[in-house]
């Protein structure tokens, strides 16, 4: 479990970011939605932005960079540009402190050699065989 702080450190409608540690692996954001504390991975699944810096609207946070919205309870994005959900985490309040229970840390993907990949050609990412793609070549 990761210590976040005192409940009063997270005011209504605000969020705090807990930097990555050996326990969490990645930064975590904890939001206060009408008194309920909800935790997700802090980094947007689209590109590099901190969701704790985002705009809280009801039970969703809007990413500060390109406005993808994530449901704080399910982690699901409501539409583009985010393609994948953020992880959600259980929040535990005990003895006057807020903790987050984080599952196994996510390992950073190994950086890829852009040129080598480009040579290998563009995969029809996200599109299954059902899609009708014709190229002139």
């Amino acid at each position: 479990m990761i210590l976040v702080g005192r409940p009063e450190d997270i005011p209504l409608g605000e969020a705090v970011r807990v930097d990555a540690s050996a326990d969490s692996g990645v930064p975590i954001a904890v939001f206060n939605v009408d008194g309920e504390l909800l935790a997700i991975d802090d980094t947007c699944t689209h590109q590099d932005a901190s969701l704790a810096d985002g705009w809280l609207e009801g039970c969703a946070v809007e990413c500060p960079l390109h406005a993808a919205c994530f449901d704080l309870r399910t982690g699901m994005p409501s539409g583009p540009p985010a393609k994948t959900p953020v992880r959600t985490h259980e929040v535990v309040v005990a003895d006057g402190y807020v903790y987050v229970r984080v599952e196994a840390p996510v390992v950073d993907p190994v950086p890829v050699q852009a040129a080598a990949q480009a040579e290998a050609g563009f995969t029809a990412a996200g599109l299954t065989e059902a899609a009708r793609i014709e190229t002139a070549a």
């Binding site: 590109q47 590099d48 932005a49 901190s50 704790a52 810096d53 985002g54 705009w55 809007e62 500060p64 960079l65 390109h66 406005a67 583009p80 540009p81 393609k83 950086p111 890829v112 050699q113 852009a114 040129a115 990949q117 480009a118 290998a120 563009f122 995969t123 029809a124 990412a125 996200g126 599109l127 299954t128 059902a130 899609a131 009708r132 793609i133 014709e134 190229t135 002139a136 070549a137």
Partner: protein, 392 residues
């Protein structure tokens, strides 16, 4: 309406195809793309992709959900002519696509540097451009970036990180001064200085010389800057030439549309970087070559095409763009005119962490932030309702 042809297979084209399905169009959707690839994201081409931090797959814009949209892709075969009266699009291969609705989303291309093309001289618009440029950015080599706009500054920043010795040349007295105003242009220019990148301002480039490869960039006043690699970041031109004779109103600034993407022909709408559109926020026609516009404008254009009430889809919000340079995040929303007054709303430019507002007759019309995404989000929301409705 039975068939809609979307011309241009990038951010605006994909967004239009998705919007067609979201707005319950169940006919045929054919997406025609000049590039041989499915839609990919361009902003990382000057940032993480150029730096080698992410790969080609990370650029994909399509998702699993798009497979369910039943889109027909015609890739690598650009549209060559539009005959709106005959309601058909002819592709470069000679193939013809009959359509009763057409969405123009052909975007823009990099403005080439005039003169013969020497080795080592680049522009940056496509994935292939980025791969070629990356191959030339060897540590220790000397890069000259012509134009200190956003793409030029991002390329300079990425190259500097790769150990390249970078010089940026700008014809204006101040980088980004025309976009952000002198004070904030200077704040951005300082990022180059902070990172040891030399900026030569007020200098006109007269030519690029070398044998087969570039050797130097020549400046007015008999000066020259040695270069192994050159990137010209001197703007983009809308891809509109193929519309000659189509009857669709357009000029060098793009396809003319109203705020909802309507052109002068009822069965043709347009969106994204290829348009010269009425901006309800600014109150006049302009080109908006920014990612968020290409993502959002197609929904309104598609509503117009399908004859749906544009209410709800019309874009009334403040235009927005961002840029990442030297680890700094820059964000801008709204519309600025040269006489607007700049007010620092939070922080100070010297700390490279601040929010600034632009006021016109006291009213907040635009916001700029450096490394302050959270406060930017708050101030940006102060812009929207007032100005947008006033200008519509």
């Amino acid at each position: 309406m039975r068939t809609v042809a979307v011309i241009g297979g990038s951010l605006a084209g994909l967004s239009a195809a998705r919007a067609l399905r979201e707005q319950d169009f169940d006919g045929r959707v054919v997406v025609v793309g000049a590039e041989d690839r499915l839609p990919y994201d361009r902003p990382p081409l000057s940032k993480e992709f150029l730096a080698g931090e992410i790969g080609v797959d990370d650029l994909a814009l399509t998702t699993d959900d798009d497979a369910g949209l039943d889109l027909e892709w015609r890739l690598g075969d650009p549209a060559a002519a539009l005959d709106p009266r005959g309601r058909s699009v002819v592709l470069a291969s000679g193939r013809e696509i009959a359509a009763d609705g057409v969405v123009l989303a052909t975007g823009a291309r990099a403005r080439p540097f005039p003169g013969e093309r020497l080795g080592g001289v680049h522009t940056l618009r496509t994935l292939e451009d980025a791969v070629e440029l990356r191959g030339d950015l060897q540590a220790g080599s000397r890069l000259v970036v012509i134009g200190a706009g956003f793409i030029g500054a991002e390329v300079a920043s990425t190259a500097q990180k790769l150990g390249v010795e970078v010089t940026v040349i700008e014809s204006d007295p101040l980088p980004l001064g025309r976009v952000l105003g002198a004070e904030l242009g200077a704040a951005c220019a300082a990022l180059h200085d902070d990172n040891g990148v030399r900026v030569i301002t007020g200098a006109a480039v007269t030519g690029i010389s070398g044998d087969t490869r570039v050797r130097e960039v020549r400046l007015a006043g008999d000066r020259a800057v040695p270069a192994d690699v050159v990137v010209a970041g001197i703007g983009a031109l809308p891809n509109i030439e193929w519309l000659a004779g189509s009857g669709v109103d357009h000029d060098h600034r793009g396809v003319w549309t109203d705020a909802e993407g309507a052109t002068n022909l009822p069965q043709v709408v347009a969106a994204g970087d290829c348009t010269f559109s009425h901006c309800p926020y600014a109150g006049f026609e302009r080109r908006q070559e920014h990612w968020t516009n290409a993502l959002q404008q197609p929904a309104a254009a598609v509503a117009t095409l399908l004859g749906r009430s544009p209410a709800g889809t019309a874009r009334r919000s403040a235009p927005y763009f961002w840029s990442d340079q030297y680890g700094a995040r820059l964000q801008f929303a709204g519309h600025r005119l040269p006489d607007d007054e700049i007010e620092i709303l939070d922080g100070d430019p010297g700390s490279r962490r601040f929010v600034a507002g632009y006021r016109r007759a006291g009213e907040l019309v635009a916001v700029f932030a450096m490394n302050q995404p959270k406060l930017f989000g708050k101030w940006r929301r102060q812009l929207m309702p007032r100005h947008a409705t006033a200008a519509s």
